[in-house]
Amino acid sequence: MAIAKPDAVSKEGLDAQTLRAMYRHMLRSRVLDERMWVLNRQGRAPFWISAMGHEAIQVAVGMNMEPGRDWLAPYYRDLALTLVLGMTPRDHLLSVLAKAEDPNSGGRQMPAHYGSRAHNIISTGSPVTTQLLHAAGIALAFRMRGEDAVCVTAFGEGSTSGGDFHEALNFAATHKLGVVFVVENNGYAISVPVEKQMATPHVSDRAQAYGIPGVSIDGNDAISCYRAAREAVQRARSGDGPTLLEAKVHRLTSHSSDDDQRRYRSAEDLEAERKQDCMPRFRGLLEDLGVLAAGDADAMRAELVVELDEATAYAEAAADPLPQTAMLHVYAEDS
């Protein structure tokens, strides 16, 4: 594998509309993410874990999936990905405020534990890496029914050290299943740097153990992300089996609202990573290309903030779950 160089946009066959949509998806996630942190600092949301810095790859993958047909086994950073697939800021605000209406879990799980049957997004628990095997099983079911749908699963680089990573890639590769394994490599597992996680320079090197393509891309380069995602999804759909797609991203926040990364990372590093934020970079590119006119991006943000304010108001007004409802849904009621 080799780090892919971002090609000229033209070569990507990406029209202005797609590029705008891509930027808008990224921005929608970012402003929602910012709002979550505000709510957390105000003490209104006890916990948040952020997608900031991971937006480009998530949106690129989501835009190459077919909603209603393809499935997603996400992890807690996949805010942008769930939005592209049709979940809304309101859905996640209901979750961060633990409201009964929260479609992810009815306020039962921590925020960012995504899930929605309506969007083919399977429910996420806290133990990492387990969902990779679920993705393989989902793709196996597609295969058995002769459907060419794709299952995408995403996870961090630290999670590739767990046994389920190996068992899932091994099974999916052995049966050439339609899975795209997306590693959002931000270099850290909470405080543990990737050098203490593995010996190879790229997570995608792990693909060689399974005889499948391993691709590493600059996760701050939205265009490369889009191209790589499209290839991986097409490969999965056409029956050529899984891809291990690694996006090198930066975690622009502490691991979560319970963490303070200044305890284990230098100010210089953090500053350097901020400078590579995928958002301004993509915005700059689109402005150079004339896809975004001066002011467009700000207008877009303003418009998204309106949606966000409405959603926040709605979520805050929504009802808390009733205590007794804790007893429900341990088993299917009909059973």
Partner: protein, 327 residues
């Protein structure tokens, strides 16, 4: 009604359901050409093909995790774990994922999956092919745990398990596979999950047990009957949920309670049954609750002398029952 072995009943239960419902599939080690190490899936790959009866890699977390995903995507998978002893690598997928999927998604998702595994000793399987570790799962909300003791229940409960919308652990006592025979209808029937059954009626001592030890208990009960002591032998069948009503009814009726099981007693099914009796039968008890099971050692050793030291035999159970009867 035709007579079949416990093993045949299980195989037939899977075969018939696979004919009825094409969503049913089997994933496990050696389930294909070999038909499983005990023959439970013999002939099924030939009939249903390599997709629906699939040899898995040697990875139990993979077997269960893949079945969870398939179940969420419309299939009705059966995960076969070669020996219950080897379910340990899959505990995370079973307890953290399958058991909690419906609850954590607020009923948005479910995992209709059966995990089958042979358990129990007395077959010279030594430490890792003789264990009964079901207790580990019987305290886990979201799971159902079933152990049949007869061929009739084996098929009937397995059918219910395969049609259940939630994860069911279905444990088969490997010593029963060929040694236990009984009448099993050829046609479709099912036995509901969650209910105990009275294997023998009696009014003096209520004996609660499960799996092959039901037969041990029936033999011991017969011996006591010669001297006029009538044991009521209750086959728990469902270890989660336990049939509290049935347990309380028999315990109150008899006033004396024996809980018998194959594995060691600490924090086990026997503990929960005894606790239920202590909670709900106080005013009906004529004697202390008694428990009998394996010693507090890791598992059943290989040497015949050590293996039989471990096992609860009809003689040992009879002796314990006579002590209780004499109280």
């Amino acid at each position: 009604m035709p007579t079949k072995t416990y093993l045949e009943a299980i195989r037939e239960g899977m075969r018939d359901e696979m004919r009825r419902d094409e969503r049913v599939m089997i994933l496990g080690e050696d389930v294909g050409a070999k038909g499983g190490v005990f023959g439970a899936t013999e002939g099924l790959q030939k009939e249903f093909g390599e997709m629906r009866v699939m040899d898995s890699p040697l990875a139990e977390s993979c077997i269960v995790g893949v079945c969870i995903g398939a179940a969420m995507n419309g299939m009705r998978p059966i995960a076969e774990i070669q020996f219950q002893d080897f379910i340990m690598p899959a505990v995370d997928q079973i307890v953290s994922e399958a058991a909690k999927m419906r609850y954590r998604s607020n009923n948005d998702w479910g995992v209709p999956m059966v995990v089958r595994a042979p358990f129990g000793g007395g077959i010279h399987g030594a430490l890792y092919h003789s264990q009964s570790i079901e207790a580990m799962f019987c305290g886990v909300p979201g799971l159902k745990v079933v152990v049949p003791s007869t061929p009739y229940d084996a098929k009937g409960l397995l059918v219910s398990a395969m049609r259940d919308p939630d994860p069911v652990l279905f444990f088969e006592h490997k010593r029963a596979y060929r040694s236990v025979k009984g009448e099993v209808p050829d046609d479709d029937y099912s036995v509901p999950l969650g209910t105990a059954s009275v294997a023998r009626e009696g009014g003096d001592i209520a004996v609660f047990t499960y799996g092959i030890m039901v037969h041990t208990a029936l033999e011991a009960a017969q011996r006591l009957a010669r001297d006029g002591f009538e044991c009521e032998v209750v086959d728990l069948r469902s270890l989660r949920p336990l049939d509290r009503e049935a347990i309380v009814a028999s315990a109150r009726k008899c006033g004396k309670v024996m809980v018998a099981q194959e594995p060691n007693l600490a924090v086990s099914i026997s503990s929960e049954v005894a606790a239920i009796v202590a909670e709900d039968c106080f005013e009906y008890l004529d004697a202390p609750v008694m428990r009998i099971g394996g010693p507090e050692i890791p598992a059943m050793p290989f040497a015949p002398a050590l293996e039989s030291f471990y096992l609860v035999t009809p003689d040992k159970l009879e002796a314990a029952l006579r002590t209780l009867a004499a109280y």
